[in-house]
């Protein structure tokens, strides 16, 4: 089944009718709207009641049939298709849909299935055009058949809303609260309608309120009082419809709704060319861009964008696009996640943003405590906030260099570099750029000046069905040739591998290199690495044993860095050089563990976290450091402090969302949400080990191994939610400039289904995919199935 994404058809003006309360007149007003669309505008109309409870004869769809086309036929062009009324699921008991469904013997559709049914009806009507009205049941949060609140249930469709306000006592409050519940889920409320009531006059206040919110609010005349006989009632009802279906007010309402629909289409369709004129895109060569290449995103939910399809006629204008890059590696808990949204809104309502220097608020403090607990690193005791990974790295580097300089008594003008890994990348601000060796990303930047030394290293991938530690040619004299392993788990079994010859080779090589650098007079203030995987450098899976050896040598050999080298007393103090882990990409369950450091079983002195920190909603970064590093900035002089701090440092909204994200991810971890994925990766080798945390991925082991055997594939690996495929670069350009992955990317974007495709990003000849932490097995399967077709 295709993902149930948003619906938008050029000629089918689709609206969803919501009630501010139960019994506010949704069905009567829906009928008026349907009739007016037929009678005044001579348009075709489709009414849909997805779920109805109670006697079928009293059901809303029957009401519409009775007072719609059948009775008013004399005014209308009565063809089969002109006016259809449909109820998808009818349960007999007049109670809430979930309870009525539960006690019935009937099929209970799950949320995705129900949405697909609605999409199917709309898709069939799209050719005919006109209007479609989808009437909800009860209030905005009344449960659907599965028990999910309707406001959440229908959200993926993101059909524009008509809100029927409550004209009775208390109705102002009910209406505004219902409006807010829709609005905060990203619904567009296009029209508010209610019955007149001379006594309560709710419309006065509501008209003012909705005018401020840019939505017209209109009244319909009050309904008659209930009559003694059903016939009398129906007679009056009929007269009501005859009279008001032709009213200029309703015509105005429909005209506004039509305008809004047309505006939405026009706006979406014009966005790429407007963006092409006004936006300066990040990491984009504008000469290679054209409006046709710009993806217009209408909205997003779960793992999917809802993107514009350039279509004429009756085809859907919106397609679901799997967010294959995790929106630049940020996504974890799904787009439009209502819990993250509520956390953000709560903090915005409680604080806005408040000053952080010498002040404290609960979200910043609680996040610091939660994060330190998460990292389970006895060295880390302090959290410094900034706004993104790049600024967080600048903070980390400022911390480390100062600590090293103070410890070793170097002067402020001694040039300090960093030690790192070839192919590393730590961000786009100048200080972060300077932490990496020259590359396509930085070498043309006027102020870039790489400050450091970067090691080459063996890498990990699955090649021709075999997990391999590949040794680059230049290192083969030192380390020998590529080494095959039985499994990824074996490669990650660092305890066993530390006893191997290769570990000693790594140590010797690193030590000799550092000695040589010392001889050359080079001076270093930090070791900075992306643990396990170098992201922007091309999704390079570094042999973890090499990273472990590097940290081990640096920590155990202070004499390689300074004359007055010494080991401090404290167990948690840094030795050799401060070790910075850039976990911006790799941390917080991206690789399946709460920290990437735990995969290496190394405790860094400074650890930088962003991206997944907020579950994929907002920029925020936390740089955690040891007390030892912190104390290097202590002095009687105010200006010895770490003089860094952005205006929105520790902004309450970001911190609140981050707390919610960390808690949700921890819950997923501890409640076994990933057990199905994990079980596919657990091999006999694993089970023999005591309590070993499995090495696992949401991408299946079989699929990874199958991919590694494709002719065009050079190597592949998967870990946590990341899948990385290196394609053979037949043009030989290599690296970031290669276009080898472009064909695959284009084929995935084209897709083979009218309903969805895959949006992905490439890094030269590497194409990668990133699931969220809440992505279902079905979605992963769906993506893998397409990949199997494209890579075959």
């Amino acid at each position: 089944m295709a993902p149930a994404g948003a619906v938008l058809y050029r000629n089918l003006r689709t609206f969803q009718v919501w009630g501010a309360n139960t019994e506010v007149g949704k069905t009567v007003i829906s009928t008026v709207l349907c009739n007016a669309a037929r009678a005044k505008l001579k348009d075709r109309v489709q009414y849909i009641k997805p779920v109805s409870t109670g006697n079928i004869e009293d059901a809303d769809s029957s009401h519409i049939r009775k007072f719609g086309i059948d009775r008013l036929a004399k005014h209308l062009d009565n063809t089969d298709e002109a006016f259809k009324s449909l109820c998808l699921h009818q349960y007999e008991l007049p109670i809430s849909p979930d309870r009525a469904a539960a006690v019935s013997n009937l099929h209970i559709p799950n949320d995705e299935a129900l949405l697909s049914e609605i999409r199917q009806v709309l898709s069939e009507r799209a050719e005919l055009g006109g209007w479609a009205f989808i009437e909800t049941a009860g209030g905005v949060h009344s449960p659907g058949p599965s028990g999910t609140s309707q406001a959440d249930l229908y959200r993926p469709l993101r059909v524009p809303a008509v809100l029927i306000a409550d004209s009775k006592l208390g109705g102002i409050s009910q209406t505004i609260a219902a409006y807010e519940s829709l609005k905060i889920r990203g619904y567009d409320v296009e029209s508010v309608l209610l019955f007149e009531d001379d006594y309560y006059q709710n419309d006065h206040q509501l008209k003012t309120y909705f005018k401020q919110h840019g939505t017209p609010c209109k009244t319909l005349p009050k309904l008659h009082a209930p009559q003694s006989s059903k016939e009398a009632d129906e007679e009056l009802m009929l007269r009501y419809y005859e009279k008001h279906s032709q009213s200029p007010i309703i015509e105005e309402v429909l005209s506004h709704m039509k305008q809004r629909h047309d505006d939405r289409v026009k706006n979406l369709e014009s966005m790429p060319s407007r963006a092409h004129n006004k936006i300066w895109y990040p990491f984009t060569q504008s000469t290679l861009l054209s409006p046709e290449k710009i993806t217009a995103i209408d909205s997003a939910s779960g793992d999917y964008f809802q993107t514009l399809e350039k279509k004429q006629g009756a085809e859907s204008l919106i397609k679901s696009s799997f967010d294959g890059s995790g929106s630049w590696w940020t996504q974890g808990l799904g787009h439009g996640n209502p819990q993250l949204m509520l956390a953000a809104a709560y903090a915005a309502g409680r604080y806005g943003h408040v000053m952080f220097a010498e002040a404290v608020h609960e979200p910043a403090l609680k996040l610091a405590e939660t994060l330190l607990d998460y990292l389970s690193n006895p060295r880390l005791s302090r959290v410094f906030y900034s706004d993104n990974g790049s600024t967080g790295i600048e903070v980390a580097v400022k911390m480390a260099l100062r600590a090293a300089r103070i410890r070793y008594g170097w002067g402020p003008n001694d040039n300090l570099g960093v030690l790192g890994l070839s192919g590393s990348y730590h961000g786009d601000t100048m200080g972060a750029m300077d932490c990496s060796e020259p590359s396509t990303y930085n070498e043309k930047i006027e102020w870039y000046e790489g400050k450091g030394f970067w090691f080459s290293y063996p890498t990990v991938s699955c090649v021709d069905g075999r997990w391999t530690v590949a040794v680059p040619p230049a290192l083969q004299d030192q380390f020998g040739s590529d080494k095959p392993f039985r499994s990824l788990a074996d490669i990650m079994d660092l305890e066993s591998r530390e006893a191997s010859r290769e570990y000693e080779q790594y140590r010797v090589f690193i030590t000799q290199t550092l000695k040589q650098l010392r001889v050359e007079g080079r001076r270093f203030g930090a070791l900075i690495i992306e643990p396990i995987v170098l992201g922007a450098g091309g999704m390079i899976f570094v042999d973890p044993l090499f990273q472990r050896a590097l940290v081990s040598v640096v920590r155990s050999s202070p004499e390689l860095f300074a004359d007055d080298a010494h080991f401090p007393n404290s167990a948690n103090a840094w030795t050799g050089l401060p070790v910075i882990f850039d976990e911006v990409f790799t941390g917080l369950y991206r690789l399946g563990r709460s920290s990437a450091a735990s995969l290496l079983q190394v405790h860094p002195d400074i650890s930088v976290h962003a991206k997944l920190l907020t579950g994929g909603l907002l920029p925020l970064c936390a740089t955690a450091a040891s007390e030892d590093i912190f104390k290097a900035f202590e002095s009687d002089d105010k200006s010895d402090a770490l003089l860094h701090g952005h205006s929105y440092t520790a902004h309450a909204v970001g911190c609140s969302v981050a707390i919610e994200s960390l808690e949700e991810m921890r819950t997923l971890d501890t409640t076994g949400a990933w057990d199905e994925f994990k079980s596919r990766w657990a091999g006999p080798a694993q089970e023999s080990e005591q309590e070993a945390e499995p090495v696992w991925s949401v991408w299946s082991k079989d699929f990874v191994e199958w991919t590694s055997n494709r002719e065009r594939v050079e190597g592949v690996w998967a870990l946590g939610s990341v899948l990385s495929i290196t394609l053979k670069d037949l043009q030989g350009a290599g690296g970031y400039k290669s276009t080898a992955a472009k064909d695959v990317q284009a084929a995935l974007f084209k897709g083979d289904s009218a309903d969805w495709n895959i949006h992905s990003r490439i890094l030269g000849n590497v194409i990668y995919f990133m699931a969220g932490q809440t992505t279902s097995t079905a979605t992963v399967q769906r993506v893998q199935d397409v990949l199997r077709k494209v890579l075959v």
Copy 2:
């Protein structure tokens, strides 16, 4: 009147009772809670109904009196103060409070007055301790007497909420929607209560829902059906209370509420010391910090923080603190602004965050279009997004240097510097730091390396009652001595001043300096200035004529920068050097105009905007640039692109909030919201000019001039929402390290009222204050009154 801030008393457990709907039993359940607190816990109880409509005998406060202490006295310790019931405003007609108040002949309290009355009652009860229950009227959004929704009206008090859920048909939806409306305003909902109902059983679903949200939801037995006589009704009611006021469920509810109250106090009180242990503060020397110096912020609303007061006994634990630094210069539309909150939540619900490279979403596009329109600068045509002012400056510098290098044919390794102003500061990332001359902020940073030349210049302030352009001693040979002016408006009248001798002096000085730099072989790629005011450098108001002269010379003299200097054809292309305006602090109405550039009447080629961009809620930065600059990055080579882009580039939440902010500020501007402030600054000089936009401030001219005459004051200026006072530095340390302003800051923080104080930040011997764009004249007056006392 003191600001009506949050209430929290150690021994008075105060809760506000809200209804998910009207007629859900708020009063009955409030009575049960009051009775149980008396009967089971033997505590004192205060019931408050701030506003009641309908017959006084039927009023909720009468109900409580009848079924509370009076009738149940036999169980209770019936003293005068043990159980009080109070209605503050009673209007006779049983309709919504705003309408009932409007038709009455009674006093209608405004929102602030009503809150003050409630605070007064609570403050008087604080000594006695026990419980206070404040019962709202109708639903959460039912209007108060002024017409403001209660959810907004009572928000400044931020009393923890008890939500009475709706047990009737549709009640699940009503309850969740009401809960969300409270939650998104920053209320803590501590308990949900409802009547049992065997038929609808709303409690089943609601208990599950609220469990997920961490709030206990409990039921009370159903009420009896209405009886034929009032006496029979009352008899049954009495029995209900007798029975259920002692129920273990209610005891459990109260016990939970007590725990939550105690936890809140404990949490707040422990925050400073926990923060002192775990937080690494920005720009803070930790040896000078102690828990006592850390301000614990409970919440914030409008212009005020709600901060912890370290008090024992019955005194209020929370004080309103005027956010004098505008939370590091970010605030514009008030803390907890519901419109910004809704904009944030809507975008979070609609998108989360979505990929921006080669994609477009409505908020990013609309913000780009809105901002470009705002800036009214024909040169600017492109917007590049990043996360904060510092990253936005790095982007601007990358843009400018590349454009200059391409135009002049310089190689990538030619060292380019920037031209700037002495005392400038552009941010904390390394590239932004390198744009400023060495200073306290950067000179100890290991990788800092100032790249450029920075001019000295005359400055503006009001000294001894006279507006003055002060010339620093080193420049007096060139420019003569300090020059007095009749008014600030005269100083800002650049058209007239361009005809003066001083303008020519400025131009000559600048030209000669640049010639000399050329002779020295220096090479520059950009002119970067903070227009009008240098913020972090110490709120330095630069003579705008000097800044104009600087831009003018740079633009008209390309031969000062390169041999192959030429003027491009396009009118909007840069000449000389690309001119960058860092408007991060000074732009977007901070200085009273939509852009600071408009005060200088200069059109920069690149303009950087952050802080107020989101009205003070979230980090976001936009760097706007000219098409000419944009085209410098065009090539067939992908790697010639501007290789910069943070993961959350153009995040939808930030962009949506920014659009809302820009629109709100524009509305304030165009609807004359600042006319009262402006009128105080309009002098006869102004009126003689045609259509001249006034130079104005929220801080009154009289007050500024009065301040300038204080003995301890060296100079003062006000512009837009900023007031800056330079104090005489009697110790002579000067600059950032000075402590001259510390006394004033401490006196303001101590305050002279139990209800509020002023939180401010200082820059050396400069103390400054920043109002928001929505700060009222009354608030400004209140702050000025205190300043007059402290500065006297």
